[in-house]
């Protein structure tokens, strides 16, 4: 299972990559594997909207199932990956790269510190898989 070092993770299987206040958000390889073929990424937010940590800001759908996307931190949406509208399969192909979903401007730059590091997330995945 690919869990890159240096990223921070949520228990809902999202990854975050923080650079100052800018936090890029996507879903992890584990989430992708659970979902299967992703066919629709539906974001309920647009650039400028505020999101709240732990609250859903969209849904991601595969052939078989649907899953909520939760904001890992509170903040403002500054960028949305528009490419996923027409190419949701990018999430399957490259979930830590081209499959990113949104970039948030965290209201508190330190908020990602509270998320799981790769070791803690790996442990969480191990438990979730059983």
């Amino acid at each position: 299972m690919n869990i890159p070092a240096g990223l921070k993770y949520t228990k809902d299987h999202e990854w975050t990559n923080a650079s100052g206040n800018r936090v890029t958000v996507g879903i992890t390889a584990f989430a992708v594997e659970q979902l299967g073929d992703i066919t629709l990424v539906n974001l309920d937010v647009k650039v400028g909207d505020e999101v709240t940590a732990g609250k859903a800001f969209g849904t991601i759908e595969s052939v078989k199932t649907l899953s909520d996307l939760f904001a890992p931190v509170s903040g403002k949406v500054v960028e949305i990956n528009k490419e996923l509208d027409s190419k949701p399969e990018l999430v399957n192909e490259d979930c830590y790269g081209k499959g990113w979903m949104v970039i948030l401007e965290a209201s508190d730059a330190a908020s990602t510190n509270q998320l799981l590091d790769e070791a803690a997330y790996a442990e969480h995945v191990k438990n979730a898989a059983h």
């Binding site: 299967g36 073929d37 066919t39 629709l40 539906n42 849904t59 759908e61 595969s62 052939v63 078989k64 649907l66």
Partner: protein
């Protein structure tokens, strides 16, 4: 100690094969079954373009034997079994006295006095009780489910693959649709039926429970160069939906009758008698209040089982019974019950996708038909 509330899941004789192949196993009607191996879309495309191999050993197999078996079977189903010849099979519904659907079945006439009924795994206990009760004092009943494995080989390359599995298997190419016969496939004694649940040509192969692993392994090995892949329940569902084949528990159940479900073609009112006939006569005499239709989601959304359907004013008028992306048709498709006034092809309505009204349109079905 209290008894566990849920009985342990059962395994088919192919369970180890599925796990070894990396399948994701899920609980399904009391069995642990593979939902996917490489991915639903990949397996779906394999079946449409080459072939797929499905373990459907969880299905129920009931046998009726004796002089009066034919009459008892015919009495329990809506379609006309009396017209079958030996070696012919028939898709049908079985209804209750209210004319709603107990199960959809395939009945196989092995001989005038020997019938096999294949029922849905989810309805096994119920249908076993129905057939066993009806057989009482008239014919012999035998539940063959635990002794019988069932493997479906489906896709345009299905018969090419069978041809590699021995001379007897090669001759199966002459089998007509909805016919079956005993055959030796890859040295395994089987009964092979030209039936399926994918919209593709292919066969369903019955064999002894413990013979299934050898048959599975050999078919996969022979078929691999031709593109054969193991396929799971996920692909089975998208394949059957594109071909508008009903799924019991989704599109049909004991709250729906075969007429509104679009299964009027398996209800033969000219039969002298069958369970549910009087109720279905009444259904047929009146205009249908609702109908199961196929639709395409034209907005950004995927319809799912249980989502409400709304008219363009936003009023809830129906329910989605099946929905998913259709990998071959390249659209998000679904089936659902709508009031008769909204069932004409081209009628627009909304699917309520978790609080969002997403536009959809009634379309002709099947969504996919093989060339």
């Amino acid at each position: 100690m209290t008894e566990p509330a849920v009985p342990p899941l059962r395994k088919t004789s192919l369970y180890d094969r599925h796990v070894k192949a990396g399948a994701r196993m899920v609980p399904f009607t009391g069995f642990e079954m593979p939902v996917q191996y490489t991915g639903i879309v990949d397996e779906h495309q394999a079946v449409r373009t080459a072939a797929g191999l499905f373990d459907v050993s969880h299905m129920g197999e009931l046998e009726m034997r004796g002089e009066y078996a034919a009459q008892v079977v015919d009495y329990l189903i809506t379609n006309d079994a009396s017209k079958l010849v030996d070696g012919q099979a028939l898709y049908t519904a079985a209804c209750n006295e209210q004319g709603t659907i107990l199960d959809d079945l395939i009945v196989y006439r092995a001989a005038q006095d020997r019938w096999l009924i294949v029922c849905n795994a989810s309805n096994h206990d119920k249908m076993k009780a129905v057939f066993e009760k009806a057989a009482k004092d008239h014919c012999e009943f035998d539940d063959r489910t635990d002794a019988t494995a069932l493997i479906a080989l489906q896709g345009p390359k299905a018969f090419e693959i069978l041809a590699l599995a021995g001379s007897d298997a090669a001759n199966l190419a002459t089998l007509k649709s909805f016919h079956f016969r005993d055959a030796v496939v890859a040295n395994v004694k089987c009964t092979v039926a030209r039936t399926g649940y994918t919209g593709e040509d292919g066969v369903e192969i019955f064999c002894a429970w413990n013979d299934a692993p050898a048959l599975w392994d050999q078919l996969l090995e022979l078929g691999k160069p031709l593109g054969l892949k193991p396929a799971g329940l996920g692909a089975r569902d998208t394949l059957r939906l594109e071909s508008r084949l009903s799924l019991y528990g989704n599109d049909i159940d004991e709250t729906t009758n075969p007429i509104e479900a679009g299964l009027g073609w398996v209800v033969k009112m000219d039969k002298p008698t069958f369970v549910g006939k009087a109720a279905l006569e009444k259904v047929k005499a009146a205009p249908l209040p609702r109908k199961l239709v196929g639709f395409e989601v034209t907005g950004r959304g995927i319809a799912r089982h249980g989502y409400p359907l709304r008219d363009l004013e936003g009023k809830e008028v129906g329910i989605c019974t099946s929905g998913s992306p259709g990998p071959t048709v390249g659209k998000n498709i679904g089936l659902g019950y709508l009031p008769a006034a909204l069932t004409a092809i081209g009628t627009k309505f909304f699917v309520d996708c978790r609080g969002k009204n997403i536009e959809a349109v009634v379309v002709k079905t099947p969504f996919y038909k093989r060339a």
